[in-house]
């Protein structure tokens, strides 16, 4: 294509076996007008420096692999157009996570927190296949649908001030996914989840910064889920005080 423009990419490099500290490499890349940030990283990998490590797969903003900081902001690099940037673009690993190498971060911590909200349908008695599907009205579906759209890309953790300051905080995505099940008409596990959410800092460490919802590439609005969960967790606790057997 003719309308070729060159941009300089300043990319964080870190190999724990060799580097004491992260360093940066600069790459000059001929970019096309329709390219995303990820296209430039793949160009670097294929044509300039095959030692660069980054995760990616679907390149259609749904697998959640390619989150990074671009010019200091958490972005899904396959969705983030290069046209939004100047001649020099900095690419760093997501903030608030340990770095495995280069642009690859460790998110085992998230996986633990994710599991702790019990993100699955809990029922007193499992429904048999022969009984068919549950009835769930479009309105009941709508009540939780938005919070089920999380792709686990970790942009919200990267943006969240509480994640970096409060190790007990479960974080926006994990809480949104727990909340998703609490709001699902097929689920009966809300008391169990809300009890877990009352643990020190688990939901309450959120400082209402709202950064998570601003960076979410899927409009999940995790901030709303965190705030609603705080309220539900408190109400569930009060219900336990006022009513015998937790109001059941």
């Amino acid at each position: 294509m003719s309308s070729e423009v060159k941009k300089t990419f300043v990319v964080t490099r870190f190999d724990p076996d060799r580097d004491e500290e992260p360093r940066t490499d600069r790459y000059e890349v001929p970019v096309q007008p329709d390219w995303k940030v990820l296209d430039a990283l793949n160009y670097i990998k294929d044509e300039i420096d095959s030692t660069l490590a980054h995760r990616w797969s679907c390149r259609m903003a749904v697998c959640g692999s390619c989150g990074m900081q671009v010019d200091g902001k958490p972005k899904l690099t396959c969705k983030d157009s290069l046209a939004n940037y100047g001649d020099t673009v900095t690419v760093e690993p997501l903030a608030n996570f340990p770095v495995v190498r280069d642009l690859v971060v460790e998110f085992e911590g998230f996986m633990e927190k994710f599991k702790s909200v019990k993100p699955w349908i809990i029922r007193a008695k499992e429904r048999a296949v022969e009984e068919g599907t549950h009835r769930q009205s479009p309105a009941e579906l709508e009540a939780f649908k938005q919070f089920s759209m999380c792709i686990n890309c970790m942009l919200c953790y990267s943006a969240c001030p509480a994640v970096s300051n409060e190790p007990e905080f479960a974080g926006p995505a994990a809480i949104a996914l727990g909340h998703r099940y609490n709001l699902d008409s097929r689920d009966e596990g809300d008391s169990e989840r809300l009890a877990a959410m009352r643990d020190e800092g688990f939901v309450y460490a959120c400082s209402y910064a709202n950064e998570c919802s601003e960076v979410c590439p899927k409009n999940v609005d995790p901030a709303a889920a965190v705030n609603q969960s705080k309220l539900l967790a408190t109400m569930d606790w009060m219900k336990g005080l006022v009513l015998p057997r937790g109001g059941k």
């Binding site: 294509m1 190999d15 724990p16 076996d17 060799r18 329709d34 990998k45 294929d46 044509e47 420096d49 095959s50 030692t51 660069l52 490590a53 980054h54 995760r55 990616w56 797969s57 679907c58 390149r59 259609m60 903003a61 749904v62 697998c63 959640g64 692999s65 969705k79 495995v100 190498r101 280069d102 690859v104 996986m111 599991k115 019990k118 993100p119 699955w120 349908i121 499992e126 429904r127 296949v129 068919g132 599907t133 549950h134 009835r135 769930q136 009205s137 479009p138 009941e140 579906l141 939780f144 649908k145 089920s148 759209m149 792709i151 686990n152 996914l177 099940y181 699902d184 097929r186 689920d187």
Partner: protein
């Protein structure tokens, strides 16, 4: 030192088929220990990118007979009919299970699960969760699986070898991407569920991870690949990226339009018949190519294209049923389908072929199973109907999981010492390959030449000359691959060595596709030849088997299991 992990069953791959197999295994026996080994975190698996839906009979005006016939006919009579009958019967149960596990299926006003129309299906039987069905199925399965402690995940492990002894498979070796260490996984049954290998082509809906790993592992270990010539081109991919625009766009009433503004599937006779936009994928992809060849395509940066017009559906319906399509078109081609038609081209999407298995997913190597796109259980024959594959992952993933549990109780563990020794040897091989500076070839360039050759030889339309040329080119590229130089000698998260191992797998899969295609001298389903334009039941109503041989692949055949649906001319 080589770490050894012992389990009863190993599942390679954490997409829909692998997760369903894992859940089925622990349901069948709560004591069973399952290793779920995947080169990515399960929620990154490519199931996530499926959009339109999953098929299963749900309405009173539908029947198992109708779903079965549609699938047989869609397969151009190359599907095995016992497999198809089992599939349609299990399909509603599996989708119901997924509903119980939280999948947010879209609903009718009365709260029942909604279904939509899909190509080649005679009635509405495709269950959907707006247009992110693969995403919701994958996340529902993964989240449901998290409650089972007997499913032990090993994320970001790349399987490098199948460890097979005289009486069957005893484990796998895998490279821990984070440490560079080879680990040995021991078990008495292994299920390959690594998806297909669309990345052997340059223009594909498939994500970067779809490199045919399971197919190549089985192929190199004495299991033939079946029906590999049948590569599905999805009619509607975005030019340039190849990003999928779901068939649900047509199911919901979208039109394909040429440069003259005509609905060409209606205006010209392309064999799609009265159903027009609801025809099967192979026929519509051919129609688009013919339309472009007739001079009625539109010129674009990435070649000629046609339009997918959704404007008449209106913003409300698009936002309700197809919001992801709107997001994708807006983000990746700068077009809002509410106001502007979407440019589309046929794009490599799915492999009907795969690891030769029986109806249980079992291969001819004892204890080795395959399920999902990796497998060819012979559900899809020469052409898969849209929305059958997500259901296939569930139905045959579950069956493989259950059978693997049963089989693991009847077989003995492998030889600890011998398996550990294989692990050491594998570590040595990987350590030698990592950062191997000596060599005259560049990885990314060999890969690009492979994909270019595959598109030239094994595209929508094929001829003997171009297929033969691709067969030769792939053989040469395999030679050149042995001479690639690698720059990255770090042990930690070395994605270059993973890419090299993936390219080795892709070259084997490409070899299987090209050789199988060059063998079949007829047109059937997705295998369309200009030099043999008609179906030839006399000579080719059989499966193609391709066997690995270091001296070059060997072609063989196996019988199609027919049933009460007799082969007939495939007309819509």
């Amino acid at each position: 030192m080589v770490d050894v992990h012992k389990h009863d069953i190993i599942i390679v791959g954490g997409g829909a088929a692998g997760l369903r197999a894992a859940i089925a295994a622990v349901e069948a026996d709560p004591q069973v220990s399952v290793a779920l080994v995947s080169k990515v975190y399960p929620m990154r698996s490519h199931t996530v990118s499926a959009e339109g839906g999953a098929a299963a009979v749900a309405r009173p005006d539908d029947s198992l007979e109708m779903h079965g016939y549609d699938t047989v006919k869609g397969s151009d009579f190359l599907g095995d009919q016992d497999v198809i009958e089992y599939f349609v019967e299990e399909a509603p149960k599996e989708l119901t299970r997924l509903e119980h596990w939280g999948c947010p299926w879209s609903r009718n006003d009365d709260g029942s699960v909604a279904t939509r129309a899909f190509g080649g299906m005679t009635t509405k039987r495709t269950w959907y969760a707006s247009d992110k069905v693969g995403f919701h199925m994958l996340h529902s399965l993964f989240q449901h699986s998290m409650q089972f402690d007997r499913i032990v995940r090993y994320d970001e492990r790349f399987v490098t070898q199948l460890l097979i002894e005289d009486d069957g498979i005893k484990g796998v070796s895998a490279l821990d991407v984070r440490t560079g260490n080879i680990e040995v996984f021991q078990a008495r049954a292994v299920i390959l569920a690594t998806g297909g290998g669309g990345k052997i082509f340059p223009f594909t809906t498939n994500g970067n991870i779809k490199t045919g790993d399971g197919m190549a592992l089985a192929y190199r270990n004495g299991v033939p690949l079946k029906d590999m010539e049948f590569v599905q081109y999805h009619p509607t991919g975005l030019p340039g990226t190849g990003i999928l625009i779901t068939e649900a766009t047509r199911g919901e009433g979208g039109h394909l339009i040429n440069s003259e503004g005509e609905r060409f599937l209606v205006a010209y006779d392309y064999g799609v018949g009265n159903k027009a936009e609801l025809g099967p994928r192979d026929m519509i992809s051919r129609a688009i190519i013919q339309e472009i060849e007739a001079g009625r395509g539109l010129p674009g940066t990435y070649g000629e294209y046609v339009h997918l017009d959704l404007r008449h559906l209106g913003e409300d319906k698009i936002m309700k049923r197809l919001p992801f399509v709107r997001e994708l078109a807006t983000t990746y081609v700068g077009v809002d389908p509410v106001t502007t038609p979407i440019p589309i081209r046929p794009v490599v999407h799915y492999m009907m072929g795969g690891v030769d298995t029986d109806i249980d997913g079992l291969t001819r190597v004892g204890g080795l199973f395959a399920a999902g796109e990796t497998a060819c259980v012979s559900l899809n024959g020469a052409n898969r109907l849209g929305s059958n594959s997500l259901t296939e992952c569930l139905v045959f993933g579950a069956r493989a999981g259950q059978r693997a549990v049963a089989l693991s109780k009847e077989t003995s563990d492998g030889n600890d010492v011998a398996l550990r020794k294989r692990g050491f040897e594998e570590q040595e091989r990987i350590d030698t390959l990592r950062g191997k500076k000596k060599g005259g070839e560049k990885l990314s360039h060999v890969r690009r030449e492979m994909t270019t050759s595959m598109e030239r030889g094994c595209g929508v339309y094929r001829t003997q000359d171009t297929m033969d040329a691709t067969v030769q080119e792939i053989a040469q590229l395999k030679g050149r691959f042995a001479d690639i130089a690698l720059q990255d000698d770090s042990r930690v998260f070395n994605t270059e060595i993973i890419a090299a191992l993936e390219l080795g797998n892709m070259l084997d899969v490409a070899e299987a596709v090209a050789n199988s295609a060059a063998y079949r001298k007829e047109s059937r389903g997705a295998h369309t030849r200009r030099d043999h334009p008609t179906r030839d039941d006399q000579n080719y109503l059989h499966h193609t088997l391709v066997h690995f041989d270091p001296a070059g692949p060997r072609i063989d055949t196996s019988q199609v299991r027919l049933g009460h649906w007799e082969p007939e001319e495939r007309k819509y």
